[in-house]
Amino acid sequence: MNAKRADQLATVCLYAIVGIIVTLLAGLLGFVFVKGIPQLSWQFITSPPQIFKEGGGVGPQLFNSFYLLVLTLLISVPVAIGAGIYLAEYAKDNWLVRCIRVLIEVLSSLPSIVVGLFGFLFFVLYLGWGFSILSGALALSVFNLPLLVRVVEQSISNVPKQQREAGWALGFSKWETITTVVLPAALPGIVTGVILASGRVFGEAAALIYTAGMSTPAIDFTDWNPLSPVSPLNPFRPAETMAVHIWKINGEGIMPDASAISDGAAALLIISILGFNLASRFIGRLMFKKLSAG
């Protein structure tokens, strides 16, 4: 076989593989959307679920998903930025740091159900927080951190060394160089990574089943005092998210329209995650533009 034939063959094979992947994804998304989007309505998005009757919604679940995400990011982003700065700027290449890197790799491939069970044993039982948003947010932080740390480290390492030297040459200390020169330059990459990681956290179910729980108590959306037991902001209440809700009603939903609700919730979930992906591109590009133009 000559080089030209081999080249043609490789091209055909690669196109075929890409075609299969695209068809698969399009089919999957199409299926979810075709079945789910007709179920979506303002009423569905805002009203609470019904246990025995038709016509329930996923309002609290949607809120829980976003609230858990915000708490998770509040916990994990600062830690990840600290760890990323350490690994990119301070860590020497010795056995301890290599150990840390291996541990982060392991942590990032930890099955989320294992993270969930750890959260159950530690936050829910040992610390006695029960099924709660806080337990869930901490479990999700454990789940989220390895990816975030790597994103931050990568973004910081991508800032050219000359930028640091230019900072030092102005009499900046190492820390001042990091805060005034390196971090601003790394910011677009960090923001993009955080939003992408958010999509993963938003759709996570297994880590939450045993930590944030599978129920949502009656909550009053007019009560924004985080200490009140009926407030949606109370971090010590159980909180079922969208992904967990889908899992639950498919297993034990007894409302007559369970499958319709599950379809609608699945579509809503995917639309939200799609939104995160689009937002990450848009905001990353916007920030880069701002840095290089504004």
Partner: protein, 276 residues
């Protein structure tokens, strides 16, 4: 021996006094005594003793790898930040030995500014690029900062080109403008010495000409040490030239003499393009 000129600003404590007998001459801004720099086992600079006259341009020339850039970076202790790199010997700035433990490294770099081979603007506005140095060193008032920025950009011959877009990103500027911005950024620190590491080698001929013109103007107020691979450039802009080879200074003297009547055959060979 001349009397010593003290610049307490680089000292951590104002009471610090320099040891007598350092052999420091008041006409020189910067002087090294048997300065050696090592990368691990490799000796990049070998016992270089040289003095740089105030308000003059000294060109460091020599083939690649001869240690001239390493030597330049040793002068404001930039090599401190490189692992495995250490310096031996002495550097006197205004009579103060810069390796002394009582010297404030950040203050040293404020007074001995540096511009690199490639332009390295920060991902910030033009204004913030120039203002970040003075802000770090305690200038807080906006009006004062504006004054410093305007003054520095004027000195760097960039003001007229950017005065209407101070708040746009520095990354928008052309390479030559970026390099002049970096010079302005260094000038904003009000240094007395400027170290230039091949500042024009990444630029086009027009930008290079602008940088060279700028250097000859800046000479009136600053002591300038420039590393260059461009012989014509060294001949055009420098007052003194030092030829480096294998980590040593082979010859140091008036630029005119070095280029027309070098003492060493090796220097002549390099200048005529037979080494390098």
């Amino acid at each position: 021996m001349q009397s010593m000129v003290l610049h307490p600003a680089v000292m951590k404590t104002k009471s610090m006094r320099v040891s007598e007998g350092s052999g420091f001459a008041a006409s020189s801004a910067l002087q090294t005594k048997e300065l050696s720099v090592f990368y691990g086992e490799h000796q990049a600079v070998n016992q270089v003793s040289i003095s740089f006259r105030k308000q003059s341009v000294t060109a460091l020339i020599g083939p690649s790898g001869c240690g001239k850039s390493t030597f330049l970076r040793a002068l404001n202790r930039m090599n401190d930040d490189i692992d495995q790199c250490r310096a031996e010997g002495e550097i006197y700035y205004e009579g103060i030995e810069l390796h002394s433990e009582r010297v404030n490294l950040h203050e040293v770099r404020k007074q001995i500014g540096m511009v690199f081979q490639r332009p390295v603007p920060f991902a910030k506005s033009i204004f913030k690029n120039v203002a970040s140095g003075p802000m770090r060193h305690g200038v807080k008032k906006q009006s004062e900062l504006e004054e410093i920025v305007e003054d520095s950009l004027k000195k760097a011959a960039l003001w007229d080109e950017v005065k209407d877009q101070l708040n746009t990103s520095a990354l928008r500027l052309s390479g030559g403008q970026q390099q002049r911005l970096c010079i302005a950024r260094a000038l904003a620190m009000q240094p007395s010495v400027l170290l230039l590491d091949e500042p024009a080698s990444a630029l086009d001929p027009v930008s290079t000409a602008k940088i060279e013109e700028l250097i000859t103007q800046l000479k009136a107020d600053y002591t300038i040490v420039i590393v260059t691979h461009n012989m014509q450039q060294a001949a055009r802009i420098s007052d003194e030239t030092a030829y480096f080879y294998m980590g040593r200074v082979v010859e140091h003297g008036q630029t005119g003499q070095i280029f027309t009547n070098p003492l060493h055959e090796q220097t002549a060979h390099y200048i005529n393009g037979r080494i390098g």
